[in-house]
């Protein structure tokens, strides 16, 4: 029953999307009223909601006649992971994608009134994108396939025909062990998807603007909030992924330059460039061609990311499926890239008429440099990720590109970016006279150098780390100094605290960005210290033994086992002590989680987070009497997560207070547009 309802929902969504594509076009040409959009949009939304609801109902009621349910869940799966299974595996993730797209389509449609040709055209584009995603759900990635022959566990044969004779498997296979090991797995994908799908909106408006030959910044103004929201969610999603990798995966790191991690980083880099570049266009009308190119690239990269993750084309920590989905996404990606670039090439001379850059030494110049650096960064990550694929496709050889390449090549770019982040935002527009810049930079530079010297005095001997400390301190000091300089002008009237708040509120877009830059600086320092200054030691212990590691001492108390319905756990109980091996800090319990559906156990570390450093312990092998563990000490690890939060907070600040939108173009705002949006 759920299969049928779900499949019908998918079909309704396809119909609605196709209709939306057509009706949107008609409305944009003035041949129909905006009210005609309502029905297609409702079909899309209700169809998508029905599909998701049907899927979750089937999962939560353990309906093993649905092949997806039998493949990805089991009766022993805990509730939260059951719920998460709705999107954790291939077909379900596309249902979630479709649902988010439908909701966003609905929200955009609410802003489109009669006469709003741009909005209607954008909706048309979103409808066409929807045809692809819902079309996939109906064909190659069908979550409602019916189980027609059951095995001991799971289905042995399936059919896409909803009325086929359904057989219920006795039990499900259960989620992949990595997907039911930690609660974060339930949250990380939806965050990323909201970010990915959110980028569809600026893309749709950009295509609409190009197709209609519209000048000006209207499409940017209307989609600015969407782009910001998408960026915030992407940032969150990436941070959660890093945190999950650190807390759950036991290899002692948070970023592996894994292809799927890169798949999320690429759109993030390009969207960051887009947000900056769009600010310049809104303010000065420049960089229009860049903005079109960036938004097309961002959207295309979300498709590429989905392709890399879901097609099984790369074996990584994430991808564990293989199906016909890959070629389909690749084909759509090719279509999108070819079509968008063709439209761009045809129209860009019409829509870009901008004042030229007067001087490279200016805020505009800094933004241009920023565009170049971020694009370069993204390009490097892209070719590094794609290289093994391409080599294998063309020559059959299997090669690898891993951390050594990415770290080495992106490090200088990261330094350049940090420097640009420091100077760029305080460079005056049009022409930056050196004297002006120097007054804004002089004291922060001194502070930064002193802190760098301080780091060396404290014992840091790694050159890149000291450079990062100097650059990051420079960034924070420049921002602090500027905030201070603007606040003290008002200090006479109101208190200092209030003066600071007033400054922050007066230009939330700018100060939100600066807050995010502070977060970035913190992240840079944390990455540097936790990499260059980390200590790793493999330790062999018999019960009762204690071994010194860095400034700590680890004592092995004994092993333990645990059995739940979901999994069996083998772990070690260790006491973490101070260097004297007598003052106890806390108990650490790294463990191996074994799930019934897989022979490979998931090593789960235990982490003790402290102010100076994190102590991270994970099981590496051995037996209960001869235990082998990996002990890591990561200095200032908490700074990474704090920096991440601050970065997202900066994005939210830009969003939340942007009530007085500045209308920069001569075009009258259509009646339906949300004021200030």
């Amino acid at each position: 029953m759920s299969s049928l309802v779900g499949y019908l929902g998918v079909l309704a969504a396809i119909g609605g999307s196709a209709a939306l594509g057509w009706v949107g076009y008609q409305v944009s040409r003035g041949r129909r009223q905006a009210a005609a959009l309502r029905t297609p949009v409702l079909f899309v939304l209700l169809g998508a909601v029905a599909a998701m609801a049907a899927l979750e109902t089937a999962i939560l009621s353990h309906d093993f006649t649905v092949a997806y349910v039998a493949r990805t869940t089991a009766t022993t799966t805990p509730f939260v992971f059951l719920l998460a299974s709705g999107w954790a595996a291939l077909e379900g993730s596309i249902v979630l994608w479709g649902l988010v797209l439908a909701v966003f389509t609905f929200l955009v449609a609410r802003t489109v009134a009669t006469g709003d040709g741009l909005g209607a055209a954008a909706l048309s584009v979103m409808g066409l994108v929807g045809v692809f995603w819902f079309g996939m759900m109906a064909t190659v990635a069908n979550p409602f396939q019916v189980c027609t022959a059951a095995g001991a566990v799971g289905c042995r044969a399936t059919s896409w025909w909803p009325f086929a004779a359904a057989v219920a498997a006795p039990d499900g296979v259960g989620p992949n062990p990595l997907l039911q090991n930690h609660i974060l797995m339930a949250v990380h994908p939806p965050m990323l998807y909201v970010g990915y799908v959110g980028l569809t909106v600026p893309y749709a408006f950009a295509m609409a603007a190009l197709a209609r030959g519209e000048r000006g910044t209207v499409w940017l103004e209307r989609t600015h909030r969407w782009s910001l929201v998408a960026w915030c969610f992407l940032t969150c999603g990436i941070l959660l992924g890093a945190w999950w990798s650190y807390e759950v995966l036991g290899w002692g790191g948070y970023w592996a330059w894994d292809p799927v991690e890169n798949a999320a980083l690429l759109p993030w880099l390009v969207t960051t460039a887009f947000l900056h570049s769009a600010a310049v266009q809104r303010r000065r009308g420049m960089l229009q061609a860049w903005n079109f190119a960036l938004v097309i690239a961002a959207f295309a990269l979300t498709l590429l990311g989905t392709f890399l993750t879901r097609s099984g084309v790369i074996l990584s920590v994430h991808s564990f499926t293989q199906s016909a989905v890959g070629p389909t996404i690749l084909a759509f990606l090719g279509l999108v890239v070819a079509g968008s670039l063709a439209l761009f090439a045809l129209r860009v001379h019409v829509v870009s008429s901008a004042p030229r850059l007067e001087s490279f030494a200016s805020r505009e110049g800094a933004f241009l440099l920023n565009n170049l650096l971020l694009t370069l960064f993204a390009f490097t990550v892209l070719i590094g990720t794609m290289y093994p694929l391409l080599v294998e496709a063309f020559t059959g050889r299997q090669v690898s590109v891993g951390r050594p390449f990415f770290d080495r090549v992106t490090l200088p770019m990261a330094f350049a970016l940090l420097l640009a982040v420091g100077i760029g935002p305080i460079a005056p527009y049009r022409i930056a006279r050196p004297a002006v810049v120097w007054t804004r930079v002089r004291t922060p530079l001194r502070v930064a150098l002193v802190l760098g010297a301080g780091a060396v005095l404290v014992g840091v001997r790694s050159v890149p780390t000291v450079i990062v400390v100097v650059l990051a301190a420079f960034v924070v000091a420049v921002i602090a100094r500027q905030l201070w300089a603007q606040a003290i002008r008002q200090r006479q009237e109101v208190g200092l605290g209030k003066a600071v708040t007033r400054v922050l509120r007066r230009d939330p877009g700018y100060w939100g960005g600066q807050i995010a830059h502070i977060g970035l600086a913190l992240i840079a320092v944390a990455i540097a210290t936790s990499t260059a200054l980390a200590v790793r030691q493999e330790v062999r212990l018999a019960p009762g033994d204690a071994v010194a590691v860095d400034d700590y001492c680890v004592r092995y108390e004994g092993s333990f086992t645990q059995q739940t319905a979901q999994r069996s756990v083998e772990g070690a109980e260790l006491t973490l002590l101070r260097a004297d091996c007598t003052t106890a800090i806390r108990t650490m319990t790294p463990r191996l989680n074994r799930y019934p559906n897989s022979s490979q156990a998931v090593a789960t570390p235990d982490v003790r987070t402290g102010f100076i450093d994190d102590v991270y312990v994970s099981l590496a092998g051995g037996t209960a009497d001869d235990l082998v563990i990996d002990v890591f000490v990561f200095p200032l690890m908490w700074l990474l997560w704090l920096g991440g939060l601050v970065t997202v907070a900066g994005g939210i600040w830009s969003l939340a207070l942007r009530r007085t939108g500045r209308r920069q173009t001569g075009e009258p705002a259509p009646a339906g547009v949300i004021a200030g949006g």
Partner: protein, 133 residues
Amino acid sequence: MLSVVVMVVGLLPGTETPLDDAARATAIASTLRCPFCQGESIAEAPAQIARDLEAFIVEKVEEGWSDDQIYGFFEARYGERVRLDPPLAGWGLALWLAPLALLGVGVAAIVTRRREGPTPAPAAAAAAKLEAS
């Protein structure tokens, strides 16, 4: 200025110490992929095979094997894919140089576009917008 001196003095010696055996072994292990894991390096992968291979590398380093000999051994057994570093020859070299190439192209494009001269003066509306912002 004093700060700069402190930093230079403090860091200069650090950049000249040669890698000892353990550090060399770790460096080699982190540029070799763990063959039966999921993409991590031998140094990073939390698997028993990775520990065994790491011990093997340490052993060979102590026996006096050169980096190239160890890499060669692994490549012969597990194929080219075990190297996490693209080689500095052929297409691998192209990969390493590509970012520099793109940087050059980008800078050149930006500079030459600017030298092409100003576009027609912005309309009065655009100028008014600039004043208002």
